[in-house]
Amino acid sequence: MSQANLTPLLEVQGLRTAFPTRNGTVRAVDGVDLEVRPGECLGVVGESGSGKSVTFASVMGLVRSPGFIEAGSIRFAGRDLTRLSVPEMRQLRGRDIAMTMQDALTALNPALTVGEQIAEVLHAHAPDLPAGRFARRRAVRDRSIEMMRLVGIPSPESRLGNYPHEFSGGMRQRIMIAIALACRPKLLIADEPTTALDVTIQAQVLELIADIRRELGMSVVLITHDLGVVAEHCDRVMVMYAGQVVETGPTVQVITDPRHPYTQGLLRSIPRLSMRGQRIQPIEGQVPELIDLPPQCRFYSRCPQRLDTCRQVVAMRAAGPARQARCIRVGEEMQ
């Protein structure tokens, strides 16, 4: 995919999403900027709790109460989503931006057949469906079968009437993708589509997403914490840590030459066959709790290279063409 300067499909600026809790406000997303260009696949990596899901839940307008978007703008195809009314947002969801949930095992309603779950999104958005009641039903059914076939479910006609528990994990994930793609959205947000799956199934699913992306020319956001997945499938990557983006850039560059110490640590802590016998070097410590964080580099307490000067608010810095990282060292190197 070219890096042509097309206008971004999705552009998020200064997004802050917070959850008031008894112990204080959790700033789950704290000043995230990002953009997704048409046709591109953006990988989002980061540790559990780093705000990946909340960021995109904010984009979808699905932050669970008591959470709320404090600040920021979310522009999708030229429209500011934060300004849309609830019905307008509903119209948009599922039709223009679709999403698959982190856990395929719990994201499908156990009490409804998969056929119904696919059909209802078609009914809700009715993209070019015939008007008559009966004809419409038929069209929806045909479309559902087509979607199931597209995601590789064998004999879809007979399986429309099955319930989610009658499918394997991989198939459920595929059904969720079928639901997400039913209205041919412009943007697919795939939130950890493979964490619950086995490697061989994971490969199948990721391949499927890649194929469909190519076919439909849609943009994909692939949320994961597996750098391997990103390496294989994404054009660009965005690394998150504690509610902030710490590094972005073209995948190959970020992986071969990580600039942020967290990205470096992450890469180092992946066990590799080639490293047998050597010690892996895990990043010590834990991700900080996102309450009342001091105004300093969020990675400070775990950073092996920390300096006193890190105890200040650190902004994103350019780390090369189309690359940025949130570390004061990056600036130094550039200078």
């Binding site: 540790e47 559990s48 064998p154 394997s168 994990g169 991989g170 198939m171 799956l197 086995d198 490697v199 061989t200 199934i201 994971q202 490969a203 199948q204 990721l206 391949e207 890649a210 914490h225 597996d226 750098l227 391997g228 997945v229 390496a231 294989e232 499938h233 995948t251 190959v252 992986i255 071969t256 640590g265 992450l266 890469l267 802590s269 992946i270 066990p271 590799r272 066959l273 490293m275 047998r276 010690r279 892996i280 070097q281 895990p282 990043i283 010590e284 834990q286 991700v287």
Partner: protein, 339 residues
Amino acid sequence: MSRQSPADPLVRVDSLVKHYDTRRGLVGRLTGRPGVLVQALNDVSFTVRRGETLGLIGESGCGKSTLGRAVLRLHEPTAGRVTFDGTDVTGLGHADLKAMRQRMQIVFQDPYASLNPRRTVAEIVGLSLKLHGLTRDRRELRDRVAAIIENVGLKTTHLDRYPHQFSGGQRQRIGIARALILNPDFIVCDEPVSALDVSIQAQIIQLLADLKREMGLTYLFISHDISVIGYVSDRVAVMYLGEIVEMGPVEAVLERPRHPYTQSLLSAVPQVDKPGPRTHVRLKGDLPSPLNPPPGCKFHTRCPLATDVCRTAAPETRTVGDGHTVSCHLVTDDVRLAS
């Protein structure tokens, strides 16, 4: 099986079978409706030598956890034998089994579900000492708990906290401490890192490796993450649908896999170090149901190389290298699949 090590194997599993009887209710039992047996383990045999880590990989539902639990007799095996340090564990009575449990422990996959949310760390970790009557003295109990807690990288100030106050990595450390406090010889690690963050996962793997070295532990290490298995194990067993299809030293199995399933598994692992699209050995379909496993070679439904013989006859286990065994009809000579 040749005796290479001076000592006998610590754990020896012979033809272990485990079927879950999901026939429900009286009528079912009376009429003996067939076809509702989950054949989770089918004739599994292996040994684990003292001080060794045997890695166990395979897809979800292939019977890894069942194997781990059956070895500890947390689930009663349907048939077969487990010998631990010369004692037949499968035949032990209640009291003997309890004594044996001091020497065999388990660390669970889910650090959230495996700790009782209403117990403090001290209670959780000290429980087994109390249960086995190893100490009556409260001070001593606490000291021992504190010692082990520090061993796994937590602090004594954590003793009176509840599990929910810890992060996943810390919880897994508590689970490890609980397993370690009885000073076991053998630990089944049932996917101890699957639920953890990338960076934390590394911490735990490292911890387990260090403990093994310090305490001379023996592990049965279950995971579906091949990189992790590759990193921690001395030998590897690959399971498919209740059977071990390939087993051998880690280098042999992971670098020169002989079974088509192992090969496809390996090629499916996304590699950070080689960014960009790759080609895989693509498997069709999903894992067949253990309720109703296919005849012949169980892998034939998904195997890209399956032949007629695969569909009818179960393959024998062949030795293809030093301690490297494979169950596949096709592996007569050194057939290697293109990746």
